[in-house]
Symmetry: C2
Subunit: 330 residues, 2 copies
């Protein structure tokens, strides 16, 4: 916006109308703000408040602070929309507030991206967002408690890798917290860790291998035990165990190598070809019909970007669904 | 351990005894392993299993894999102790397994550090650990599902800063998700963010300021509202709100500058002198009598170290308690 004069508008419900057609034309042409209707310029509350704060618009009989209060009363997310609009304008975008999302473009550009403005405290509804991004990725502008904006792109992901299913039949001994096997050959598919002459396996790996018919599990007294028993034991100590098992199993079925994400602060790190090459994903497993929070998303993205990986949020639905979330700089 | 020969021991309960006094002396002298008792060398199961795997010890009538199973039956955390012991030995330490922690020293050193070996699935009991570190910091060796070790040092922390309490009396307008004030002067104590001609405040800042007698809060219709009402509203949307408010208030009372940690994936970032200088802490608030998990601790430390800050776990007890957790490389 590069207007030298200040114009006058009238507040009418959730719109501000600039009735003088000469003035309207100037505002619209200079800043690509608002929509023409019957020779008048119609501004949304966010557009109007932005122009007010830029000193380009005054609204009859309403001080700027009064305008802020009136706008917040008329629209439950006014502050959030306004802060997003303002941030996008300050980044040099042409912004159109559609009332749902903010369509943005650089000057001269035709293709418009859309940014969905949300407050950090709005729930993160996995299935709702999964539906929203069915066609293409979407950008979400999250306003935090400090009024700062962080932008995330979210898209569906179908991870897959080349690791073939094993044909071996092995025996695993489950001890107290983990398992061992003398059958080291499964290590070629990146199960377990070589400890001395054996392979140490996690409980999750052991359950997967027995469910795939690759392993029998025995306890330290050589009694055969069922995967169901192991699952019940694991669930007692880790309420997230079943969702983790489901995602672990699905990623393994997809030919990927899955290792614990403990050191990385998440559930799994996932490799594609082998564990010598960079792991492209950190994966966080959530239960079916998950409704979480944006701070959890921010956390996962931070953890993943800090080690140059992508963050996958994996919902343990049937079949599991994956969302790839990245922080973007507009 | 640099033994060229292999010795023979006998399994007796949860100990392995090397009865031949010449052999015992050699093992003990070369590797500083075990304790002498009545001319015999007494080894813990971890020490014995380590020597077995190094090819330095055989136990009469028990194969190495059988030994592993017997040891796991006799000690509920044998695998975890063994993997920790083994990792410390491979890092070049002299290690003494006391049955509780592992005392470690470098060759020639007198002062011994202690490492507490734990499996990642063991609960993280805030108050238990707070008691354990009353005298000095402790090192915890956490074994993850892959059998890998991560070491954390934990100590008490009493954060404090130089920011003086405000004496102003201001008015705050709470809108839908955040608050604004026309009284910009409180910004010198780093409350709020300047948005146009006003200061935008978070709900948590607003409640703190009203509870300190600095602010009155009104809604968009200029009706006065109570901090209790705001707390109830905030708690509906954020189940962690009350613990966050308590820690926010305590840190502000301690003269620190507290800002949202949203972008960093945690609750708060804390500055000492001003917000231009580096923020030394990321703070995660947990409820009173908190029992969490080690993966949560690992996550917090990762997030903080990724941005060169210390991770403070803050328990909303009365008064609040702080633990500083760092990852250490031994």
């Amino acid at each position: 916006v590069d207007l030298k004069e200040s114009f006058r508008g009238e507040l009418e419900g959730d719109r501000v109308i600039v009735k003088d057609s000469v003035e309207s034309g100037k505002i619209h042409n200079k800043g690509s703000v608002g929509r023409f209707s019957g020779g008048m310029l119609v501004l949304t509350l966010t557009e109007a408040f932005y122009l007010i704060n830029e000193g380009k618009l005054s609204v009859d009989g309403v001080s700027p602070y009064e305008f802020l209060k009136k706008a917040a009363l008329s629209s439950g997310d006014f502050e959030v929309r306004y802060l997003t609009y303002r941030d996008l304008k300050k980044r040099g975008f042409i912004v159109e507030d559609t009332g749902i999302d903010m369509k943005i473009a650089r000057g001269g550009e035709d293709i418009k991206k859309a940014v969905v403005p949300l407050y950090e405290r709005v729930p993160f509804d996995f299935n709702g967002i999964y539906s929203m991004v069915s066609e293409e990725k979407k950008i979400f502008g999250i306003v935090d408690g400090d009024g700062d904006l962080t932008y995330y792109s979210i898209e569906r992901e179908e991870p897959h890798g080349p690791i073939k299913a094993l044909k071996e039949k092995i025996e695993i001994t489950v001890l107290n917290e983990m398992a061992f096997t003398e059958n080291n050959e499964i290590h070629r598919a990146y199960y377990g860790k070589t400890i001395d002459k054996w392979l140490q396996l996690s409980i999750i790996e052991s359950i997967y291998l027995v469910e795939k018919g690759i392993a029998d599990i025995r306890d330290a007294l050589s009694e055969k035990i069922s995967p169901e028993y192991l699952k019940r034991q694991a669930e007692k100590k880790d309420p997230e165990f079943m969702q983790k098992l489901k995602i672990y199993s699905d990623l393994r079925d997809r030919g990927l190598i899955v290792k614990t994400g403990f050191k990385y602060g998440t559930h799994f790190r996932v490799y594609v070809r082998d564990i010598e090459h960079h792991a492209p994903y950190l994966v966080h497993a959530v239960p079916d019909n998950y409704v979480g929070t944006w701070p959890e998303i921010s956390r996962g993205v931070r953890l993943a970007h800090g080690v140059k990986k992508d963050f996958l949020l994996a919902e343990a639905s049937d079949p599991p669904k994956y969302l790839k979330v990245k922080r973007v700089r507009l």
